[in-house]
């Protein structure tokens, strides 16, 4: 049972810079390059092609029946790794040994043709992904049922809604029965209910003792499906560890902390008396971050420079959704008198916020306004997109909450179910974030 089915040894993949953008060349390019190469050689600027390593020295093993998650930032090499393992592209160095029938799922709907009917596309896509004809015939009814498109099976898929298309495409893929399954980010499609279904199917596959390599940005899915994870950074393996540790490492490798000095340039309604210089989101240990775990308090730090004496102003922040809907705001000070006088100088306001934000992406707006009677509410300056942060559903409970419940914020109710006699049948524990 503990035999190794995937063994990668020093895998590396090198791309020529520009190759991906330029994609292909014309014969004229080749001729003109050849011509200019002659001249270049006579001069000194004979610089070699610039290259970069999308993968470098990646070694790991996956045992039979193991589900290994692969996480990392965009460009960390996750997709390249899958492309190398699935033999779509060759590695530049190193090797990988894979024992067993490999099925890959790099996108859903691979091989679908819009003009063909759902029925035809099941056969076509199945064959392209490596299913035998007899196998497709055997699973045909299951696939249709899973996709829930019985009525439209003889309609060209170009007339399908995008939801139907996605369901059919995933249904075909879900009925592949490889011993080793390599999956990339396919759960990022469809509505929440469909994502649940996909996730269920994935854990079913994993439960059957198949070996799965699962690439995703969805930490909830990763933590449900995988016991072990590999963290990639800049093409190299940063860590292979149990999932919780790997996720924490992944979140702490965040390269794009929102320290943004250009927020001064984005000020609006600005009277020159104050300049906002920085807005940071801090986690509970005080580090600037873009990722806050679900349920964890956020600290917002607003730095500003007062240019001339300011009387009776309130400075604070507002949290909004990325679509621009304001969720809540708060201004300092909150006790009477609800305004402050500032002498010229540099200041930082910090607010630790207990909140009920659901998993998702949020925008922090900062700003200030006058509080005195004469100019009440008049702005002294605002920045509408001072910082961005994500609430990450690190536990599976929080992800489920995010998917099953509606609304802008999360609640943690203590539910009771009562019968007529007033007897308490059951009491749920208060859901912990």
């Amino acid at each position: 049972m503990s035999d190794v089915v995937i063994r990668a040894e020093g895998l590396g993949k090198q791309y020529r810079i520009g190759e991906r953008q330029a994609q292909y060349e014309t014969i004229r390019d080749v001729l003109s390059n050849a011509a200019s190469a002659v001249f270049r050689q006579s001069q000194n600027g004979n610089k070699p092609d610039e290259t970069f390593w999308a993968l470098k020295d990646v070694s790991f093993e996956v045992k039979r029946g193991e589900v290994l998650g692969v996480i990392g930032r965009n460009g960390a090499g996750k997709s390249t790794l899958l492309k190398v393992l699935t033999r779509i592209t060759e590695p530049t160095e190193g090797y990988a040994e894979i024992r067993g029938r490999v099925g890959s799922l790099l996108e859903i709907g691979t091989g679908f043709h819009p003009e063909l009917t759902g029925r035809d596309n099941i056969y076509l896509s199945g064959a392209i992904m490596g299913m035998k004809r007899a196998e497709i015939i055997r699973k045909f009814d299951d696939i249709i049922e899973f996709a829930g498109i019985e009525r439209f099976i003889d309609t060209p898929v170009k007339r399908y809604s995008s939801g139907m298309y996605t369901r059919l495409a995933f249904a075909v893929a879900a009925h592949l029965e490889p011993e080793i399954l390599l999956v990339d980010e396919v759960l990022a499609v469809g509505d929440a209910a469909f994502q649940r279904k996909c996730l269920g199917k994935m854990s079913e596959i994993a439960g059957e003792g198949r070996t799965v390599l699962f690439v995703s940005h969805n930490m909830a899915a990763i933590s449900e499906l995988c016991r072990e994870c590999m963290v990639l950074e800049s093409g190299a393996v940063l860590l292979i560890a149990n999932t919780d540790e790997a996720i924490l490492t992944y979140l702490s490798t965040d390269g794009e902390v929102a320290i943004d000095s250009s927020i001064m340039e984005r000020q609006i309604d600005h009277d020159g008396s104050v300049d906002f210089t920085q807005a940071l989101v801090l986690d509970s240990s005080g580090n600037a971050t873009r990722n806050i775990h679900f349920g964890e308090p956020i600290t917002i730090a607003i730095s500003f420079r007062v240019n001339r004496p300011l009387n009776a102003v309130r400075i604070g922040f507002e949290i909004a959704t990325v679509t621009g809907l304001a969720i809540a705001s708060s201004h300092y000070p909150v006790e009477e008198p609800t305004y402050m006088n500032y002498e010229p100088g540099h200041y930082t306001l910090r607010a630790e916020v207990e909140h009920f934000l659901r998993a998702g992406r949020y925008v922090v707006r900062v700003g200030g306004h006058h509080a005195n009677a004469a100019r009440n509410g008049a702005s002294i300056g605002r920045v509408m997109d001072a910082a961005i942060f994500d609430i990450i559903p690190i536990s599976f409970e929080s992800a489920r909450l995010a998917q099953y419940e509606n609304g802008l914020i999360a609640m943690f109710p203590r539910w009771q179910l009562l019968q007529k006699a007033g007897e308490t049948l059951s009491t749920s524990r208060r859901e912990q974030p």
Binding site: M1, L11, Y15, E19, R20, Q23, Y24, E25, T26, I27, R28, V30, R64, G65, K83, V84, L85, T86, R87, I88, T89, E90, P91, T92, E93, G94, Y95, A96, E97, I98, R99, G100, R101, V102, S104, L106, E107, T110, G111, H113, E115, L116, D120, Y123, L124, A127, I128, M129, G130, K132, R133, P156, E179, E208, G209, R210
Partner: protein, 287 residues
């Protein structure tokens, strides 16, 4: 737990295949064992091409007949009637049509196969299978039109009262020669097209020039004797003359010319396979 383990063992044992993913270099030949394992894919891809081809057309499969028939009519008027080009003693229309059948297939399959990889880019970057399946199946898909056009020829032969001689048993060889020729060129052009998109613009022009270098509107007997062997360097010359000989019983193909045509076709195919396999590694990166 042990029951799961057992089931997994029995499930996996039949296909205990090991794949080694590693950098390769140099020239490698086609892995026929792998092609055989993927044989159903060839069928499905060809089936897709056929199904999609005449979707949302009014005339549908009639197009397979219309193209060679209309060309035949035009040739008969301009080359047969007006230019009075000789036709080896058979009526000019059937003389031209017999040549147009393999030619139409050739031109069609060549155009499709040379654009096939670029058209299948979304497959190439998302899933592994032998890349040869794409150009090869696009050639296979052309065979259906070939068959339909052939039925019309049988009707024409009955109409003109021309019955095949025993030479007709050689016909499968000439069909095969057509396939070898178009596959050879198609593999070269499809692989080149991935890297150099010039090919896309070259192919229509190429087929046009090629048609005049092939004895379709005229008999190869118009070519001076001493040039026949050079003429045979165009494998389609051998194919077309072979079709006429096998079906209409006219003009024995000259042996040396046929030998040259066959050799060239086989060389094109073998070199095409090597070139394709060499370029294959880069397809997903540059397509």
């Amino acid at each position: 737990m042990s029951s799961v383990a057992e089931r997994v063992e029995t499930d996996t044992s039949p296909s205990e295949e090991t794949v080694l993913v590693r950098p390769t270099s140099g020239w490698v030949f086609v892995d026929f064992k792998e092609l055989w394992r993927y044989r159903e894919l060839f069928y499905f891809l060809a089936w897709r091409d056929i199904k999609v081809r005449y979707k949302q057309t009014v005339l549908g499969a009639a197009w397979a007949v219309l193209q060679p028939v209309i060309t035949m009519i035009i040739f008969s008027i301009f080359f047969g009637r007006l230019a009075k080009i000789p036709s080896d003693g058979v009526p000019y229309p059937i003389f031209a049509y017999t040549a147009l059948i393999p030619w139409t297939f050739f031109a069609f399959a060549l155009t499709n196969s040379s654009n096939s990889l670029v058209g299948g880019a979304s497959l190439i970057t998302k899933v592994y299978f032998p890349r040869l399946a794409i150009p090869v199946s696009s050639v296979i898909a052309g065979l259906l039109d070939f068959g339909i056009a052939f039925i019309v020829l049988i009707g024409m032969m009955l109409f003109y009262g021309i019955y095949p001689t025993p030479a007709v048993i050689a016909l499968p060889f000439f069909v095969l020669l057509t396939l070898v020729t178009v596959l050879g060129i198609g593999l070269w052009l499809s692989a080149l097209n991935v890297e150099y998109r010039d090919i896309r613009y070259t192919v229509p022009f190429l087929t046009q020039v090629w048609m005049f270098a092939t004895p379709i509107a005229y008999p190869s007997s118009m070519v001076p004797e001493q040039w026949r062997i050079v003429y045979g360097l165009n494998p389609m010359a051998g194919v077309v003359e072979g079709f006429r000989w096998a079906l209409l019983g006219v003009a024995d193909p000259s042996g040396p010319m046929l030998a040259v045509s066959t050799t060239v076709a086989v060389l094109m195919l073998v070199s095409g396979m090597f070139y394709f396999r060499r370029m294959e590694r880069k397809f997903a990166d540059i397509i």
